[in-house]
């Protein structure tokens, strides 16, 4: 049990830094918008979607139509549609934790689950659940701290959010070094850049992911040949 918690804590440490910082920023902004720590706690617990929660703040206190809220949420979170594809079988085997694992599948949790190699003496299900739960708790803690104490933080934290970028870069390199085939990674980079240039920062992810899937499907024979028997 101790080894399990230790392993999960060390694996999730980069997300702890990033989520404490981003969570504090969220809690502080929500507090300034006139919503206290109870709102912060409930939103971070039940919405649990980093960028969407920041978008949500200006919605509050307005008479924005629910239909607009639905459309905004679905479009901003549309990338999540694809994350589950990699975990259909694995999550299904997790029994009671199945719905929670689906709920907690954020960008960061997804990246950690994709990149974590489970040591032989640890149970994969427990590690998966622990990663999801720990990162969720970091996010809630950060936002509650931001709501209660945000105004008291005086040291300059500018740039600490780079921990998130660094995490994705490290996972990218790990996958690059271990993959036998670089087509998917290169496809992702190129589709990301081209889509960003065409659609702009606000809406480039979904087209980039769809284009990546098309390339992965088109190059199926090459990727599978090099990777050996994938299926």
């Amino acid at each position: 049990m101790k080894k399990l918690i230790q392993f999960i804590f060390i694996r999730t440490l980069p997300v702890l830094f990033a989520f404490l910082f981003l969570g504090i920023a969220f809690g502080l902004l929500l507090q300034r918008a006139g919503y206290n720590v109870v709102w912060t706690f409930l939103i971070s617990t039940f919405v649990y979607a980093g960028s969407m929660q920041f978008v949500l703040i200006p919605f509050l206190g307005t008479d924005m139509s629910i239909f607009t809220v639905i459309l905004m949420t679905l479009s901003i979170n549309s990338r999540h549609i694809f994350y589950g594809l990699s975990f259909i079988e694995k999550f299904k085997r997790m029994g009671k934790a199945y719905p929670y694992m689906i709920f907690a599948l954020t960008d960061e949790t997804y990246s950690l689950l994709c990149s974590t190699k489970i040591p032989d003496d640890l149970d994969e299900k427990k590690v998966f659940f622990g990663i999801a739960l720990f990162t969720h708790i970091y996010w809630i803690s950060g936002s509650v701290i931001g709501s209660l104490l945000g105004e008291l933080i005086t040291f300059d934290t500018t740039g600490i959010e780079f921990a998130m970028t660094a995490l994705f870069v490290v996972i990218f390199i790990e996958q690059w070094l271990t993959a036998q085939n670089h087509i998917p990674a290169v496809a992702g980079l190129l589709c990301g850049i081209v889509s960003l240039l065409i659609f702009g920062p606000g809406s480039f992810i979904l087209p980039a992911l769809i284009a990546s899937i098309v390339i992965i499907l088109a190059a199926r024979n090459i990727i599978q040949k090099k990777d050996g028997a994938i299926i």
Partner: protein, 109 residues
């Protein structure tokens, strides 16, 4: 501030966020095992998604002035070099983040 209306907005966002995450499981999770193509995409897609997420973190980079792009690229170079050298992800992320913070707070102020 209208409590009921705000609560309705929060609940709507929570439900819709969960629905996007639920979608692939609802679509492919019920059968005994999903179509081989779905399994294949699930296996290969993470490499592409991580690459897109790296671009996502750089989406606000502008090439109009040095401070608008140099810290990000230097930071990433430090992270990448450290990681290829030591393969220690806490070191790469920790040192890279501190380096980036110094760059944006002091060097490219």
């Amino acid at each position: 501030m209208n409590f009921a209306y705000d609560a309705g907005i929060v609940l709507t966002v929570a439900v819709c966020t969960f629905l996007t995450r639920l979608f692939p499981f609802a679509l492919f999770g019920r059968k005994q095992s999903p179509h081989p193509l779905v399994t294949y995409i699930g296996k290969i897609l993470p490499s592409a998604v991580i690459a897109v997420l790296v671009i996502y973190c750089l989406k606000k980079v502008q090439f109009t002035s040095l401070p608008a792009f140099a810290p990000q690229f230097i930071g990433i170079a430090v992270v990448a070099a450290l990681h290829i050298w030591k393969r220690n992800f806490l070191l790469s992320i920790g040192a890279g983040t501190v380096c980036y913070m110094v760059l944006v707070q002091v060097v490219f102020k």
